[in-house]
């Protein structure tokens, strides 16, 4: 296992390689956590934001949860045409998927980015990101998005978008795409659909992912 033993390659590693096309197979982009190596660790949870969006979140502190929720809401806001990230349960998806073993590296990279977002909002607007006005939040997100490609900010923004899209458009069994609102927003319909998205089927994508470590299927 090279896990954690060779940080140098992770810095050299460009996520671009993984965001490349794989259209021959319908486009799989493997999620890869490699961002934000320079970001300091998040601050300890603080008692502010007591009204925090109540949730059973396990990956994030209340502050981080508030920042995440505010960020994905700006990436995919609700409008009169279609549901947004919050209706779809994107924060719940992110919280849950970052508990899976496969994404342990991404989790370590993603969490400090939330604190960085908060710090930037504090510096610019004297408020935590979650308390900033919408146009201020957008300004901070744009700063991250437009940072140099190899920067931690730009890579973190990319992961934010990928996780938001997974939570918006992924199988509902992971906790996002509630009521298939994301699929409705893009007109995704499965003809002769396999019923795994049906809660009655008992299918749980995240559990299946974890099972992959011991095989899944025969021979496990």
């Amino acid at each position: 296992m090279t896990d954690g033993q060779d940080p140098a390659w992770r810095e050299r590693l460009s996520r671009r390689v993984f965001v490349n096309r794989l259209t021959f197979m319908g486009g799989g982009v493997v999620l890869l956590g490699s961002a934000c190596k320079d970001e300091p660790k998040p601050k300890k949870p603080s008692p502010r934001l007591p009204e925090a969006l109540v949730s059973s979140h396990r990956t994030f502190t209340d502050d981080e949860w508030a920042t995440l929720t505010a960020a994905v809401d700006r990436v995919l806001p609700k409008d009169e045409g279609a549901a947004g990230a919050l209706e779809a349960g994107v924060p719940e998806y992110v919280d849950r998927i970052l508990q899976t073993q496969e994404l342990r590296r991404m989790k370590d990279d993603f969490i400090p980015g939330l604190a960085a977002l908060d710090r930037r909002a504090q510096r610019l607007f004297k408020v935590p990101f979650a308390h900033a006005a919408d146009h201020q939040k957008d300004e901070v997100l744009t700063l991250f998005k437009d940072s140099p490609e190899s920067s931690g900010e730009a890579k973190w923004y990319e992961i934010l978008v990928v996780l938001t899209m997974e939570g918006f458009l992924g199988d509902p069994s992971y906790g996002g795409n509630r009521g298939e609102v994301g699929w409705k927003a893009v007109g995704f319909t499965l003809v002769g659909r396999n019923v795994k998205a049906d809660p009655k089927s008992g299918y749980d994508g995240a559990k299946t992912l974890d099972a992959l470590r011991c095989g899944g299927g025969k021979g496990c």
Binding site: M1, T2, F18, N20, M25, V29, V75, A82, V161, V186
Partner: protein, 550 residues
């Protein structure tokens, strides 16, 4: 301790390994197949994009089992490029199943092109006619749906496909008309998918999620659904999933004697065999053989010529797409509202050019299809990144436009000229999760490939434009499709310039065979999956004859 010896040990259960296992099992030989991935069943295949397309259900994660990848003078980077599915059935499980045959001209590229500066072009040691009966067999055994129509590059064939063509989206007929008006011919694309029930397997249900997914109806003609059950039914074949081959061992005469592997518990096992067959993809087979060093073979098993790992080829890739707005254009183009998933049309008018006035002589195929419906993939692309990236209302607007769109696209399967700069080596200092050195892939494209791909993409764009779309977007003209791989163990008559003989037996190791795409001296201008299956059936017959006569 070593396991009981068998006649043949096969490494890999995909397009190359499975036909070999079936043929040997039918001939009464005892076979063990080692497959590094899990053994999925139909119930494991779920229309879950996160699971199937974005995690390690099929492909290893790049931090667990990286490939090193380097193009031109760039530095090596860790990627998951050039893996195909790690599971029983290999890449045939998640393939799209575009089942073309090569054409006679593909077997004599050197004759066609002459010497090409900067490229190691070679004729094959066999002709199309040697492989033709095995194409027939592969199409029968796997189950291929299609309709062979006369056209200027139609490969000779005795009969039509074993299954009728799949139902098609009406844009297929628009493409036919448009091609005719340009003086070209849009021909049907054969698919490794059952159009009607076949050999106990169900027919395709047109679910729309095909490529990059396993088929829960066994309608996709993977070796998992077609050949492997038949091989197991012979009772002579044992398939061991989650067994990672680490080395082929040799005896003091330099013959292969066994395969070392890590079993599902990570315990090293040894499987002795009279014959060893390697079929783990061009990249991974080269890696295994390069790692199988001994005092007799210090540079990798059978590598007297130094050719092992050399002349790696992929398929030259280019792509463009036509975007239609359904609400605005459906009155003019009623076909926009049809929901069928398959287009199944190809252009092969530029397979071979009459002269080199456009800078290339050997071209390839344009395969037309509807854009893959994976929504997360589409959403991430629409969001973009950097200064071109959008979020908020702009992104919502793009998603709404996407919902109102039909996307017709093509991709190129073009000749990929072998070069000295495109090869596989062993990265001794980079280890995978098993602690084994990983494969390092160096790529240096021949400039002619890029000229050719651009030309083909431009022709495809002309065709798309004539369908009157709202816009045509070019995706790229300089890529390579790395799941289509060949070379690294070239076959040929001369042991100095090839690793395998014409029956895919190593020149230097008389009981070692390689039957994935590694034998290919040239990529051809079509996806090579069907060719790998056909060639493995051919080699299997030769091996059976050899085993029967001592």
């Amino acid at each position: 301790m070593a396991k009981p010896s068998v006649d043949v040990c096969i490494v890999g259960s995909g397009a190359g390994g499975a036909p070999m296992a079936l043929t040997l099992g039918q001939a009464g030989f005892k076979v063990v197949v080692l497959e590094k991935g899990p053994w999925y069943t139909k119930d494991d295949f779920v229309h879950d994009e996160i699971l199937s397309s974005r995690r390690n259900f099929f492909m290893p994660l790049p931090w667990d089992e990286p490939h090193l990848w380097k193009k031109d003078t760039a530095n090596f980077q860790r990627t998951n490029e050039a893996w195909t599915a790690n599971c029983v059935g290999g890449g045939t499980v998640h393939m799209s199943g575009f089942f073309y045959r090569l054409k006679p001209v593909d077997f004599r590229l050197k004759t066609l092109l002459g010497a090409v500066k900067g490229a190691n072009v070679a004729d094959w040691p066999i002709a199309y006619s040697d492989l033709a009966p095995y194409y027939d067999k592969a199409e029968e055994e796997l189950g291929v749906s299609g309709n062979a129509v006369p056209h200027k590059f139609l490969e000779p064939r005795k009969k039509n496909y074993p299954l009728p063509p799949l139902g098609e989206h009406p844009v297929a007929f628009e493409l036919e008309k448009a091609a005719r008006s340009l003086g070209w011919q849009a021909i049907p694309t054969a698919r490794g998918i059952t159009s009607i029930p076949y050999q106990g397997r169900a027919a395709c249900v047109y679910c729309t999620l095909c490529g990059s997914y396993g088929c829960e109806h066994d309608a996709k003609s993977s070796t998992l659904a077609s050949l492997i059950p038949k091989a197991l039914a012979t009772k002579n074949v044992e398939l061991r999933p989650r067994c990672m081959a680490t080395q082929v061992l040799t005896d003091d005469k330099g013959l292969a004697k066994s395969v070392l592997y890590l079993d599902e518990d990570g315990v090293t096992q040894e499987q002795p065999a009279r014959v060893v067959v390697v079929s783990a993809t061009s990249v991974e087979s080269a890696r295994l053989l390069l790692a199988s060093k001994s005092s007799r073979f210090a540079n990798g098993l059978g590598n007297d010529s130094g050719q092992l790992g050399k002349n790696l080829v992929f398929s030259s890739f280019g792509q463009s797409r036509a975007i239609f707005r359904v609400s605005k254009q459906k009155a003019a183009h009623p076909w926009l509202e049809a929901q069928a998933p398959f287009v199944n049309r190809s252009l092969q008018d530029f397979y071979v050019m009459p002269d080199d006035r456009f800078g290339f002589k050997k071209g390839g195929t344009l395969g037309f299809m509807l854009a893959h419906p994976n929504p997360i993939y589409a959403g991430v692309k629409l969001a973009g990144k950097g200064k071109d990236g959008v979020f908020g209302a702009s992104l919502k607007q793009k998603l709404a436009e996407y919902k109102d769109s039909r996307i017709v696209e093509f991709e190129i399967y073009g000749e990929f000229l072998p070069t000295d700069g495109t090869f596989v080596s062993l990265a001794e200092n980079v280890k995978d999760k098993y602690g084994l050195p990983v494969a390092a892939i160096s790529v240096q494209r021949h400039p002619t490939d890029l000229v050719m791909t651009k030309f083909l993409v431009e022709r495809g764009e002309e065709l798309l434009q004539s369908l009157d779309p709202q816009s045509v977007e070019r995706i790229g003209v300089q890529g390579e499709t790395t799941i289509l791989q060949g070379g690294t163990c070239r076959f040929g008559a001369d042991p100095a310039t090839s690793f395998l003989d014409k029956n895919c037996r190593a020149h230097a190791v008389k009981n070692l065979y390689v039957v994935d795409g590694s034998f290919l001296p040239s990529s051809g201008g079509v996806p090579i999956t069907l060719t790998i299956v056909a060639n493995s059936f051919r080699v299997a017959d030769a091996l059976v004859a050899q085993l029967k006569h001592g």
